[in-house]
Symmetry: C2
């Protein structure tokens, strides 16, 4: 008898018919005597629809009220999933994030899980029930409803797996696992049998749509081995776990393209100490994640000024620009340019550490195709470049072909 946490994303629960399919899969495991905790997202389209209505009322709605609004999406799914299981005579009970004991901090729309008290879930599992928990949500100690941000349902699943000491955590999605690149964009992409947390982390952080980095970080921190697999078939998925020595034999594990970034450039920023600190402190205080930062040296010694660029998640662009605009008098730059038409192309692999020349090969591949590189950022196991959005997918295919086109 195993304790399994199974997470189903929005497309897997998009309508009552698909919820029935999820219920059948859960019922099968439950019938084998396993203890099952199911975590579900909002039905595909529901969250977007809610955001759309909010935007009709205000361009930048209060984050507390956004959480109040969006938390309804997962609550709808848990109730319907419980009903689908009841229809198959499986005892099941739904729980909102707050009911499941998921306590977060008070950073609305991006809350962090502070602790989980799974006592009640254990009791319900011991009664033989399937427990269905709303992903993406929690509440503060004071009873305010919070949401965990993008990919929050994965985080709920992995955090529950850790808190419950689950034997297995399965992340069901609409793809068969983690691929060397998005198979919808790159025809030669292949499914990986396994991948290290660090590689997954880089891919997640780089726009591979399978998972958000926070969830992978959480899994790494608590040693939760999880499997990314399809809700549409019984194919084995991709196991995400600690790095093993043999993983370094492969130079590049995958290629990703992140279209969800936007670039902000401050033109002619006075080149004096404390400017960068001032900017990024204000951005951080608004809980906006900054990804890449590039600052050029100043050329004019008499009146030293430089251009400063950084990238943020597209949904944060308006908010970030507003904050920067507010600093204009204090800092004294000339203007702010916001650019949504960018893509971040990345290659990832722990093998990079033992195979030199990887970045050079990537740049050469792009240069040969006439793709201009705007920004560059590297880490021990990845290289990322910012390119024009219009060239992004083509560039991705070329780089995939160069590194992963032929095996061996």
């Amino acid at each position: 008898m195993a304790l399994i946490v199974q997470k189903f994303g929005g497309t897997s629960v998009a309508n009552p018919e698909r919820i029935k399919n999820v219920a059948m899969r859960v019922a099968k495991h439950h019938g084998q005597g396993d203890h099952i905790v199911v975590v579900v997202s909002a039905m595909s389209g529901v969250t977007d629809n809610l955001i759309q209505m909010a935007r009709e009322l205000m361009p930048l709605p209060s984050e507390r009220e956004m959480d109040m609004l969006l938390a309804t999406g997962e609550q709808t799914t848990i109730a319907l999933t419980a009903m689908a299981l009841h229809a198959m005579n499986v005892p099941a009970i739904s729980m909102t994030g707050p009911q499941a004991g998921i306590v977060t901090d008070g950073v609305h729309t991006k809350a962090r899980i502070k602790n989980i008290t799974p006592k009640q879930i254990h009791a319900l599992l011991n009664e033989g029930r399937v427990v269905i928990v709303a992903g993406f949500q929690g509440q503060t100690m004071e009873g305010q409803i919070t949401t965990l941000g993008r990919g929050g349902s994965d985080l709920t699943a992995i955090a529950l797996a850790a808190a419950l000491k689950a034997d297995l955590c399965q992340i069901y999605t609409d793809v068969d696992g983690v691929y060397t690149a998005d198979p919808r964009l790159v025809p030669g992409a292949r499914k990986l049998a396994e991948i290290s947390y660090d590689e997954m982390l880089e891919l997640a952080g780089l726009g591979a749509k399978v998972m958000q980095s926070r969830s992978v970080e959480f899994a790494k921190k608590f040693g939760v081995i999880f499997e990314v697999r399809s809700s549409l078939n019984d194919n084995p998925g991709t196991i995400v776990k600690e790095e093993t020595p043999s993983m370094e034999d492969v130079v590049i594990r995958g290629v990703s393209l992140d279209k969800n970034q936007a670039k902000i450039t401050l033109v002619a920023v006075p080149d004096r100490p404390g400017v960068a600190a001032c900017i990024f402190k204000a951005i951080a205080e608004a809980s906006i994640n900054v990804d890449m930062i590039v600052q050029n040296i100043s050329h004019n010694a008499a009146s030293p000024a430089t251009d400063l660029s950084f990238t943020v998640d597209k949904p944060d662009l308006l908010k970030a620009k507003k904050i920067i605009d507010g600093l204009k008098d204090k800092i004294g730059f000339r203007e702010v340019i916001a650019d949504e038409k960018i893509g971040k192309l990345s290659i990832v692999g722990v093998g990079m550490r033992s195979h030199p020349g990887v970045a050079a090969k990537m740049f050469e591949t792009l240069a040969d195709a006439g793709v201009n590189i705007n920004m560059i950022s590297t880490s021990e196991i990845k290289v990322s470049v910012i390119v024009d959005l219009a060239r992004g997918e083509q560039a991705m295919r070329l780089v995939h072909q160069a590194f992963l086109g032929k095996v061996g």
Copy 2:
């Protein structure tokens, strides 16, 4: 400075545009320095859509899960209403029923309010905020989410008005007030300036769609004077309050047609003591309200048997029939007939007490038009008859014409 509770129903908040209209009205009162608590329902159509999805999964979904599901409707509206007020620079904050301190018993889908702890609402009002509370919902002491059943948002508003000792409780709806009959069905219907709790209670219980009886009962019990008025204009509405002597001068206050009843008939029930008790105890234990009951005397002395008919709310019909089917072996009736094609036509007025012959005039009016009467039920201030649904609206117009067609 007054404390006003304003309740807006589903059609008043049906889309972001209408929510803006609600917000403008609330903002106007708030701008006059009043303390405002707003209670909102689910956006029109949302609840039906959720019920539809639930039915696709199961004909009789678990009531606990129905509450989990339906409570999302009002939660969506409170968040959007808060945003609409923020967009007008009005400080506003949303609260779910549980957050507003609305504690209920554990009868899912039909919970009763046990108590309200409005301490936090008072504190927020004193900060100058508009407090927007989700109607229709609460939670048990154990943290289970409950809903209050049909008309639950009115109940929330009136219960909050009582708990907060509000100066005024306004029930905004899509009609101008309480009419002598449904103006959509009866062309000559007129708006009433005032009506007694008891008359309103009868009308509410009889299918006049303005309000459910539970809310009026609650208002009567706690002496909450409230006004039913339109959210589409500034016309004065109908004040609902304790009976005054002058109210008896009018024979009939209104005529109503309830299409939401269904009739169950047990054919050939053995005529022995305890049978009715057995049936209605089982029905009551399932928290199904029975309205009219008619039992005929037995004609056959050798094997005494009778037909027993009663009416329930249409949504309870399946459940009620299932319960009766389960009693077949125990009681030994011949068959059960369920009939949804009925309408309950009623006349109501405290003046009935001092004006004899009212029932006879109603029966005569129907007889003249060839409308058959299936069941009759009377009280001190009302007469109700069950007629074929197909003849209901015509019958209503005739009876309205007979009693209220001409003034004076």
